[in-house]
Amino acid sequence: MPIVNAIEIRGLSVSFAARGSVVHAVRDLDLDVPEGRVFGFLGPNGAGKTTTMHVLLGFLSPTAGRASLFGEDVRRAIARERIGYLPENPDTYRFLSGRELLRMTGRLFRLSGRILRDRADRLIEELALTAAADRPIATYSRGMRQRVCLAQALINDPDLLILDEPTAGLDPIARLDIRRLILRLREAGKTVFFSSHELSEVELVCDHLAIMAGGRLAAQGPARQLVPAGESLEKFFVRVVSQPRGEM
Amino acid sequence: MALLLCGIAITAAQLKERALLVPSEQPADLAERLLGESRRAVGAHFYEQADAYFHGGVPHTPPVAADTLFRRWRERLIPEAHAHIADNRIAEIMPWLRMATATDPRNVEAHLVAAYWLDRAIGRRDAAEELLRSALRKNPRDYRLRMELGRLCIRHGEWAGARDHLKTALAQWADQPLDDPEQHALDRAEILTYLGYLEEAAGRLVSAAEAYETVARDFPNREGLLRRAQMLRTGEQPPESAEQILRFLAAAENRHVCDRESHHHDADGDADLQGQGRNRP
């Protein structure tokens, strides 16, 4: 039986027409994310990370190439059955309570009855939202909103979790919670694909890395092999993204 | 929104009126302050609503140029036929006339129509007279209000009062031309005719004859009046006395004359909201 990657990207290019010129957000990207890994997707602003993620999530159609999630073409809704996604600076339906949000989201995955109820209750407890679960999200703090959005991304018990800058703007305790969650998911055999500018966070949790620069893949591989011994990830990252194309 | 504003304005004014016992034209003042010049358009709309109610909700619509699929479709859903509401439903038009008169106290026609139906169909002569007097305070030079007060008196057999009102109306008539010169002339003829019968009934035969002759000069086809004037001048007794004619006029229903080209007229259609006072005599 062939091994199916959680994410498989082949020859992916995404271009936009903007203000009379063409912007190549992603060029000829090949990427494999095996199952069960915590995969750090790095790059400076404008490198094409979010665009790539948005192609994976079906928000954008690629100009060329293809992408699949667990072997399903990302253009099909079914490809998103086994994934969870937390956008950058997430916001949600503030008129709902946290519990309602989780139940509504679960129904979008065709979950219902006791399974949905139990799963929502478990996530509320795990993410320390019990006291606020029945309050409107409009009354939540920023950290609580981040946690409820994360709970929403986990309601279907996803095999692949895509996180876009999950720790951006969070206090140290909230960051620690996210880090613990990612490690727990890895222990449970889940795949986590996340982008971040917080290289220290990435160093602590990722076992695989890919670095984007100028819409191209500049480097990828297991974290321990990719970063030379004695060099910090930060130095390596700066060196990689500043090199002219073709030198890697 | 205009409806809402007007409704609130009128209610507020009524509450204030009850509380302070202020004169009844106060609502108009408030409406005037609230709506400014737009009150004329709003008042005109209410007046049109009253007319539409009189015709079973069917408003005046210009004739349709083309017969289309949608036109035929619409006709099956939305009534367009000409109909008049029954006498016992006349009161239904009154809220709109109330709003029209309260919103635009200068809309004399709305006052005339409201007073007419209040007296004729609803039997509220007191309300009719109060309304006309209230309009008179805002429009003291409008001859039509005096003319209607005169008619009101005739309908109730108060000939001395009628004569006073009609004399004043006649005096004001020349100072106030209407947009419709034909109607203006007809109004004068009506005032003079009524005055003629009233003078005749009071025994002032020369004065009555002069009134009939003036009408006959303006409308030569009214030979009956000219003959009557000649009879009065020669001392001859007309076949019907002035009193009889006045009583007949007081009791007579105005026949409906509808100017709507778009309406299919029913055989029994016999009264028109806008026609009263405008299509007579």
Partner: protein, 261 residues
């Protein structure tokens, strides 16, 4: 189930945003002002209350349908919740139908409340409506709301929420008031303009067909059922066409945040 869930969320938002209650209170205030109107001391007058109550229901139903329809997608996009939503196994067609269904149901519920309030006041004043005509009027009104929400939703796929709202008001207003008058303009038009107007006359929705207030208020009795059924079908057809157009415009739409990053 996904369509139902999306519709349920729209519904909950509409109910919790209090717009409906504000309009209901406004209508109540209007009816109160009307019933307390001193009509020359006459009592028992109710037809004008029914008329203005239904006019309020029309006006407020129209506002709600357009606003609810127009704000769904732009709000999702401006809040960024569209990303979390589309990251679920939800197709854009399901999203579109769910949003429309929720907006339509919420507007319909509000409309039903407006009718109930008007009926209650009318009955309390001793008036009544013919039940069959009332049913027909309500059915056609609901069909109209379906068209209006679909129109606003379709415009919002490409326009900002406020622009979609304004556009839907202008278009539906024109469809209601101007389109029926087009045949009267035709004799004065040149050949090209005449043809254009003629095409417009048949292509634009004839929203005036959905208004049975005159029949209801003035006791003209029920309309022929075959015509009512045909009008309902016409409304459903227009709704389907508008939803299809909305889906075509939205199926490949890129969101601002997906570019330049």
């Amino acid at each position: 189930m996904r369509i139902r869930t999306i519709a349920h969320m729209v519904w909950l938002e509409a109910i919790r945003r209090k717009d409906v209650y504000v309009l209901l209170i406004l209508l109540g205030g209007l009816l109160l002002a009307l019933v307390s109107l001193n009509v020359f001391g006459l009592s028992g007058l109710v037809r004008y209350v029914a008329d203005v109550g239904l006019l309020g229901a029309w006006l407020f139903g129209w506002i709600l349908a357009v606003v609810l329809g127009a704000r769904q997608l732009p709000t999702e996009e401006s809040r960024g919740t569209i990303f979390a939503l589309l990251a679920k196994p939800v197709s854009r067609a399901e999203l579109m139908i769910g949003k429309w269904l929720g907006a339509w149901l919420a507007a319909s519920l509000a409309l039903a409340a407006f009718y109930v309030l008007t009926l209650a006041v009318v009955w309390a004043r001793g008036g009544h409506f013919d039940p069959v005509t009332l049913l027909q009027a309500l059915l056609l009104h609901l069909a109209l709301l379906a068209v209006l929400t679909a129109l606003a939703l379709a415009l919002s796929t490409r326009w900002h929420g406020d622009a979609a709202c304004a556009g839907a008001f202008v278009l539906s207003g024109a469809a209601f008031f101007v389109v029926p008058q087009v045949p009267m303009l035709l004799p004065d038009m040149g050949r090209a303009t005449g043809l254009l107007l003629h095409a417009l006359y048949y292509l634009m929705p004839h929203l005036e067909l959905f208004d049975l207030r005159r029949r209801l208020v003035h006791d003209w009795g029920p309309a022929p059922w075959d015509t009512v059924a045909l009008t309902l079908f016409y409304g459903a057809l227009f709704t389907a066409v508008l939803l299809m157009a909305a889906w075509l415009a939205y199926r490949n739409k890129r969101f601002p945040r997906s570019e330049w990053q």
